[in-house]
């Protein structure tokens, strides 16, 4: 009888299956993650006979007699080594890749106890991380090597946990040891599984759906279609245009649509049953570009027309200002669809409540918006549908829309059992909204000193099959297309068209990642024309405190763009192959939209529980909220417990989007903390048992086009300057990123965001492609072109803290801005290298071109 050893226990192999499935489903060793099951992501690494192997590859029958080790099987000392090292190095963000990284690290260190940095990078080359940019993971492994060499670990550094300290995050232990749970790690009693049947065609009429053969399969509990939806057939974060399932007689909008939802006792049964659902389609010609969509005779993707939105943003008279400019340049630019590639595919588990309600455990960027979508679909009152975050393995904008939560909820609604719906990696790549491809044209006029007189621009965006956040993305692309410069004649027209491509929506940068590539490239061309350096032209035009942005806003004292430029000047001047770009990015949703931060501090069993309806998607929100409370109340870190966002228990604090949580929820937390402090001045914490302290902050702003002389579009802006320095051989040597964040609540986390955001955009600039063929994505994680640890250049962070923001302890959100100026800085470096103008992403003619 074949057998296998796992964590020193012997198991008979009764049923042949992949090692990954055995470890997770049979043994519940959930540190071993299912990030793709395709061999591409590395989150399922385990040690077999001391070698790091991807568990999704081999079947049990190929491992007869072999010894498998997972993180759960490490001895206590080894666990502690990694918890300490990774925590102190800041290596842990969303945590989904971390157990795999620890495994690869142990495989290396067991054979090579003092590896070079190069050897470490090589050892984790097959572990993809999308959050950290790898730098701090490499630091963590270096530190782990040092700690392993000691018999006894050094005493833990003493942390005060006040604002400004580089504290290890509060969830490092659970993420490193693999005890922390993401929704897919739930194995509940009586739990059923759901799977979605999706169309093979991006545009086809659904003529009939025959579920009878699927329903007849043993172990299938039900097959549901649109007619089974109790409430609204369409959901959507802003526009409710997104069919939960396509009804018979209607058209599909893209290949990520759902036609039927299958429920079964096991995932295996569900996969078999999906194939038995017989759907008749009338294939139609898909609309695959905005240019097709805008034609008069174009097929209509959505009733109401193919134009989702037209944004016309203007101030002063750009046309006139350009016409009287000494230097005028016009250029076209183009950026592609990009995929978030967060390591944790979407997953949700819905559980029936005794009172007839439904509780959903999910992976999302906002529990309240998802609850709203689920409740509308179920036709249930919102207080009967609750959504609670577990650990979330990254989002970057791709988890703002409901993905698996509403399908899981529908199954629980009908079957009254816990129901898990997990998207496969392939489905994830098909389904969630991507970064908008944009074609842009910019015209810039400057005077003889390079001072911008006026900018005129046009943007055409492919917003894909559904609206998602397409409208706001287009708006943000337009408002920020001006660049962080001091001029007042600006005009831009942005058009977002529906097509049958996958939807485009929120993705780190929210439209600015695209238009910044345009305006910053123009600034470099203009510098050449005027005869000054690209650094100089930016320094002359940079917005400074009290200045008026092209959107009319007067910027406050915290405006530190000039300081970010000054911080890189010497490096720029001393590197002939350095490209430069600047940007600004809003923190907080702004433009008059509701933008509330809410935090309630409950004193329970002598501890302060942080309850805020704001999601930590890997950015480290809980840690900084804890630091804020400690700083303002004088309590210690151990007095405080961070609770995951939960509609049943925490007040709505908005989506984790728009770089808003540190600033907006941070301010709400500060207010709650001040109230708690007042109470603590009179009584000690134990005597405040049962009390609660509520803080709320509305980041009040003016809507676009408001009839005021100087609209306040956003309560805060982050500013940045990034440099890309090339080697002689044309590879990237280093990225230098200077970011003004107002106040760094946790500098370790700020650096983590910088390093991660920069590497994400290294990919955007040089290697990443979300391949689409007539509306059908290639859908392979391993072919996205993500940067791996052994190829990533160094990222040097420079944190600038310019005082002046009156709220939130002066802290300005940094979630997105780190990803914005990188691509134009890289394009600029290559322009210096060979004088070729590159106006398309990913950049052509580089050593990275695939």
């Amino acid at each position: 009888m074949a057998h296998i050893f796992v964590n020193n226990k012997e198991y008979e192999i009764k049923e042949d299956k992949s090692l990954l499935r055995f470890l997770r489903d049979d043994l519940h060793l959930t540190s071993v993650k299912d990030g793709c099951s395709e061999g591409a992501c590395g989150t399922c690494h385990v040690l077999i006979e001391g070698k790091a192997v991807k568990a999704c590859g081999p079947k049990l029958s190929m491992l007869d007699g072999k010894h498998v080790l997972t993180v759960e099987g490490f001895d206590d000392h080894e666990k502690e080594v990694f918890v300490r090292a990774f925590g102190e190095a800041g290596a842990v963000q969303c945590g989904f890749c971390i157990p795999g990284m620890v495994i690869s690290a142990k495989a290396l260190l067991d054979k090579n106890p003092s590896p070079t940095r190069e050897e470490i990078r090589y050892a984790i080359r097959n572990n993809i991380c999308r959050c950290t940019g790898y730098k701090k993971i490499i630091d963590g492994i270096e530190l782990a090597a040092k700690y392993r060499a000691m018999d006894v670990l050094p005493e833990k550094p003493h942390y005060t946990w006040k604002i400004g300290e580089r504290v290890p995050r509060l969830d490092v232990r659970e993420k490193v040891t693999g005890t922390g749970k993401y929704p897919d790690d739930l194995y509940l009693d009586n739990m059923i599984y759901g799977g979605i049947v999706r169309p093979p065609f991006p545009r086809a009429k659904v003529l009939s759906i025959d579920t009878s053969r699927a329903e007849a399969l043993e172990g299938v509990l039900g097959v549901y279609t649109s007619k089974d939806i109790p409430g609204d057939l369409k959901v959507g974060h802003i526009f409710q245009d997104w069919y939960v399932m396509i009804p018979v007689g209607e058209e599909t909008h893209y290949v990520g649509d759902a036609i039927a939802l299958v429920a079964g006792e096991t995932q295996e049964i569900v996969e078999k049953a999906k194939k038995l659902v017989k759907v008749e389609y009338q294939e139609l010609k898909p609309v695959t570009s905005p240019y097709e969509a805008m034609k008069d005779d174009a097929p209509v993707v959505h009733e109401g027309g193919n134009l989702l939105a037209h944004k016309h943003v203007y101030r002063g008279n750009a046309e006139e200002a350009i016409s009287r400019s000494k230097y005028v340049l016009t250029e076209k630019f183009s950026t592609p669809y990009t995929e978030h590639a967060f390591l944790e595919p979407e997953c949700a588990v819905a559980v029936p409540e005794e009172d007839g309600g439904i509780h959903i455990y999910g992976s999302e960027q906002g529990v309240y918006p998802v609850r709203h979508e689920c409740a509308e679909m179920l036709g249930m009152p919102e207080d009967k549908v609750n959504v609670e975050d577990m650990l979330i393995g990254g989002g970057f904008g791709g988890k703002e829309d409901a993905s698996a939560q509403h399908y899981a909820a529908l199954l629980t609604y009908y079957l009254h059992r816990p129901a898990k719906v997990k998207l496969s990696r392939y489905e994830s790549l098909l389904f969630h909204p991507k970064r908008h491809p944009m074609d842009m044209e910019f015209t810039v006029g400057c005077d003889e000193n390079g001072i911008i007189q006026g900018v005129k621009a046009k943007v055409i965006a492919d917003t894909g099959a559904y609206a998602s956040l397409g409208g706001p993305v287009l708006e943000r692309a337009c408002t920020h297309a001006s660049g962080p410069y001091n001029y007042q004649n600006f005009e831009i027209d942005g058009y977002g068209y529906y097509t049958n491509n996958p939807p485009a929506g929120a993705f780190r940068g929210f439209g600015v990642t695209q238009t910044c590539f345009g305006i910053e490239s123009m600034m470099n061309l203009m510098a050449d024309k005027v005869g000054i350096t690209p650094w100089e032209i930016r320094y002359r035009n940079a917005i400074r405190p009290g200045g008026e942005l092209p959107n009319g806003q007067i910027v406050d004292d915290s405006t530190g763009l000039a300081e970010t430029l000054e911080a890189v000047k010497d490096i720029y001047d001393s590197n002939p192959l350095a490209g430069i770009a600047c940007c600004m990015k809003n923190a907080g949703v702004g433009v008059g939209l509701p933008d509330f931060g809410r935090v309630r501090l409950n004193v329970v069993d002598g501890k302060v529980l942080i309850r805020s309806g704001s999601s930590c998607i890997g950015q480290g929100l809980g840690t900084i909220l804890t630091q804020i409370i400690v700083d303002y109340t004088g309590l210690t870190r151990d007095d405080i417990v961070y609770m995951h966002s939960n509609t049943a228990k925490a007040p709505d604090s908005g989506m984790s989007s728009g770089s808003r949580q540190t600033t907006v929820t941070g301010e709400a937390c500060r207010r709650a903390s001040l109230k708690l402090k007042e109470a603590l001045d009179k009584k000690p914490l134990p005597e405040l048992e049962g009390e609660e302290f509520f803080g709320e902050y509305l980041a009040k702003t003016d809507p676009l086009g408001a009839d005021v002389p100087h609209p306040v579009s956003h309560v805060a802006y982050g500013y940045a300057t990034q440099l890309c320095i090339l080697n002689e051989d044309g590879t990237v040597k280093e990225i230098v990123a200077a970011h003004d964040v107002g106040r760094a609540i946790n500098p370790l986390s700020v650096e983590g965001q910088i390093e991660g955001g920069v590497v994400m955009s290294l990919g955007f600039a040089l290697t990443e492609k979300y391949e689409l063929n007539n509306g059908i994505p290639l859908g392979k994680f391993g072919k996205l072109g993500l940067f791996r640890a052994n190829k990533v250049p160094d990222v040097k962070s420079i944190i600038i803290e310019k005082k002046g923001l009156p709220i939130s302890s002066g802290a300005i959100g940094i979630g997105e801005i780190t990803s914005i100026p990188t691509a134009p800085a890289i394009a600029a470096a290559y322009y210096k290298y060979d004088k070729k103008l590159r106006t398309e992403l990913p950049l052509k003619d580089t050593p990275y071109e695939r």
Partner: protein, 157 residues
């Protein structure tokens, strides 16, 4: 880091030997490679096919020069999944010439998550520097030609 990193070793791209029947490409067990090696890192196995000991091999290239059939090339040691075949005949012929021949079915190409495997001249070839070392090519190969040279995953029962 220089030429020594990542570690490269020699690899004999053939496994049939006495189990082959009429393959003109494969190892004939002449032993010239064994003679050429100065450190005993290559030997003829039970099937009379040359096999490299990756622990000992230093990638000096002498066996590669000695092989009259050109079967030996360098591989990156960590990229442990390799198709051990050099038969360039098309599928049907290849199938009859050896029970472990590559028949260019393309299953490996299809299952590779990153495009590191290609079929070149009717024979699978892996680009070691692109390989993600997942083993999907090996576990899906119907002929069990692609094997785990680290010996962890037993492809052949």
């Amino acid at each position: 880091m220089g030429k020594k990193f990542p570690k490269k070793v020699a690899c004999v791209f053939c496994t049939g030997g006495t189990r082959a029947s009429g393959c003109e490409y494969g190892c004939i067990g002449c032993g010239k490679c064994v003679e050429a090696c100065r450190i005993g890192a290559i030997h003829l196995n039970d099937f009379n096919v040359a096999e490299v000991d990756s622990e000992k091999c230093v990638n000096c290239g002498l066996c590669m020069k000695a092989c009259p059939k050109g079967l030996i090339r360098s591989r990156i040691n960590d990229a442990c999944f390799e198709p051990l075949c050099s038969n360039h005949d098309e599928g049907r012929a290849a199938r009859s010439e050896c029970q472990f021949s590559c028949i260019a079915c393309g299953s490996c190409v299809k299952n590779c998550p990153c495009g590191a495997v290609e079929v070149v001249d009717n024979c699978a070839v892996i680009d070691d520097s692109a390989c993600l070392v997942c083993g999907f090519c090996a576990t899906h190969c119907p002929r069990k030609v692609i094997v785990d040279l680290s010996g962890i995953i037993a492809i052949r029962a």
